[in-house]
Symmetry: C2
Subunit: 397 residues, 2 copies
Amino acid sequence: MQRFSKAVSLLRSSEIRDLMTLASRPDIISFAGGMPGNDLFPVQEIEELFSNLDEKTKQAAFQYGPTPGLPSLLESLSGFLERKGLPVKSNRLLITTGSQQALSLLAKTFIDPGDRVLVEQPCFIGALSAFRSSEAALHGIPVDREGLVIDLLNEEIRKKERARLLYITPYFHNPAGLLYSKERKAELIRTLQGSNIPLIEDDAYGDLYFHEEDRERLQPIKSIDPEDIDVCYTGSFSKILGPGLRLGWMLVPEAIHEKCELIKQSADACSPSFTQVLADAFIRSGKIDSYIAGVRQEYKKRASAMVAALKEHLPSYVHYNEPRGGFYIWLTLPEGSDATEIMKIAVKGGAVFVAGKTFDPEGKKNNTLRLSYCNNTPEQIAEGIPIIAAAIRLLCG
Amino acid sequence: MQRFSKAVSLLRSSEIRDLMTLASRPDIISFAGGMPGNDLFPVQEIEELFSNLDEKTKQAAFQYGPTPGLPSLLESLSGFLERKGLPVKSNRLLITTGSQQALSLLAKTFIDPGDRVLVEQPCFIGALSAFRSSEAALHGIPVDREGLVIDLLNEEIRKKERARLLYITPYFHNPAGLLYSKERKAELIRTLQGSNIPLIEDDAYGDLYFHEEDRERLQPIKSIDPEDIDVCYTGSFSKILGPGLRLGWMLVPEAIHEKCELIKQSADACSPSFTQVLADAFIRSGKIDSYIAGVRQEYKKRASAMVAALKEHLPSYVHYNEPRGGFYIWLTLPEGSDATEIMKIAVKGGAVFVAGKTFDPEGKKNNTLRLSYCNNTPEQIAEGIPIIAAAIRLLCG
């Protein structure tokens, strides 16, 4: 019998895989995945863009590229990010194999086994697994409707053993769906200054806002680049082009970029040139902007359909956010409810979601659940939500 | 000032990057990279294959896929590997983001900080960096013309602290260009049996043989799947389609697959669906076989041109392999020569290669150098080799 590493023993086994198997069953309506709708991908646009490229660029798509990314994509993506106010000139950009890899590289750059890492509670599961694979000691800090609870963050920061990272997803949080308030971000910045704790600001969903008036609130902390905090900003093409391209990025200070580049070289040498060439053409053609504008409207429609169905069918003791963007609605059930048991009943009825404990750094708290509306038609939503509501009533009364 | 992890401090800094910068200068003939020739990529074939796919498959190319790989590619690749005699039914296949990721996942699955890992001396630099990033204690075992020196392997195996991995590249070794003999492989198997040390068999170049009569010698150890050894077989589309697709694989026992899948989930969630769809179509169309047959001939031509130039220009005290496949010729200079100094002179003359110490697990031994012929025309070879020969004569007499 082989002995495996300690890191691998810390990773949760087949939970997610089992869920994904359920979610891909054609007889089950899945609100489980964070996958964009298949019908929304810009298939034809990308195919045309590729065939119009010159021969040299097409050949380069088959070749190794530099570890930090293809120069042409670094340039066009810098422009895209600069238009959002991000400080691309005073930082460096690294193209990663999905933003999952950005998190994994940052974890490996900062974390030694046993190091304390602060995350939101609940927290994006991909971040949890990236930190676990670096053998981090995870500490969850609860969020309320405006963001991380600052008093609790302060307590963690004041502990003797310094935390090595703080990870947040302030813009249409996965799974909690929340959008940080401007004030909370300002408090967060003040709290972190002087702590010497790098901040990972994960902005995978920020482009998918439903209301123009939220744009100011969506301004990344990185765009302020506050003094005395190493802000590591991560983003992704997954929600604004397609996750199957496996392209994300980080915008980070030079010294951190250098370390992440080294780790990336050992991890997969470079990101796929083929899809980098496609993403570059998508940005340069300007099609990315009209595409994002289109999917925003579509996700808004799906979110409204889900909110309407929840309003109609959920018992009044269930609380949830009305999403202002992104992919998710987060349900909070009465204390002591077990979302896993509810899910088992819902699956028999023909619908599935993700139980809350999956997003708990300790894997325990389970009176919550995540619904995704991103990959469902309004009809599927109208059919699936009553099944889940019935399962909740059956177990919670 | 941030504190970084111990793992990142073990990785070599800018050596490779500096070399790649040199290698990409248009005024320098580069024999440095292990990159396939840009002119050889099947650009048109792939473009046609993609446009002929049905809409559903094209959409799936934009979507997340299962962590172990797209089912359709797992199926077609299984067929491709089974035709080589590999035991796909009694093992499991994992698609990776290049075979570099396969090495990185295996490292993270087996290695805790400080664990002993056995590698060939010289060794593929990507493997060295994957093992270093897991904080392995590397031990190089010299190779001769037939493979790993078994007596020295035996010494390492007999040491009290068990090694956690043995890594070899028996088929057109990078950088040493050698092809293991059948006898040496048999000895290696006998030596490993009972040692409880998993074997990574890296077969990135095996398809690129120049002589039909070598096919038996190219039969992977994995195809025997010897009792009592966990053989982890890795391969890649990089040399038989294009590295820019970032697709490789590992064929491993079930228990190891399960661990590597978990680590992959934390590392980048899944390999690029877009390029998996392309690779799948390439295999299913049968075009992969004719393509490989074509590049074999082309690389054979380039290898012959380089051997001819070396015969003409090198001083007789320089020893080298005549390649029977793959990408590389490995030069051994008199004891005490410094290939880095030779390179500096060659660069001034307009040609570049990789100095031997890059491939030394200890980063010291430097009376050797690697020449790649894969990305050069016979004309470039005829022009570049005399520059290198002159630099050798200047320093070694």
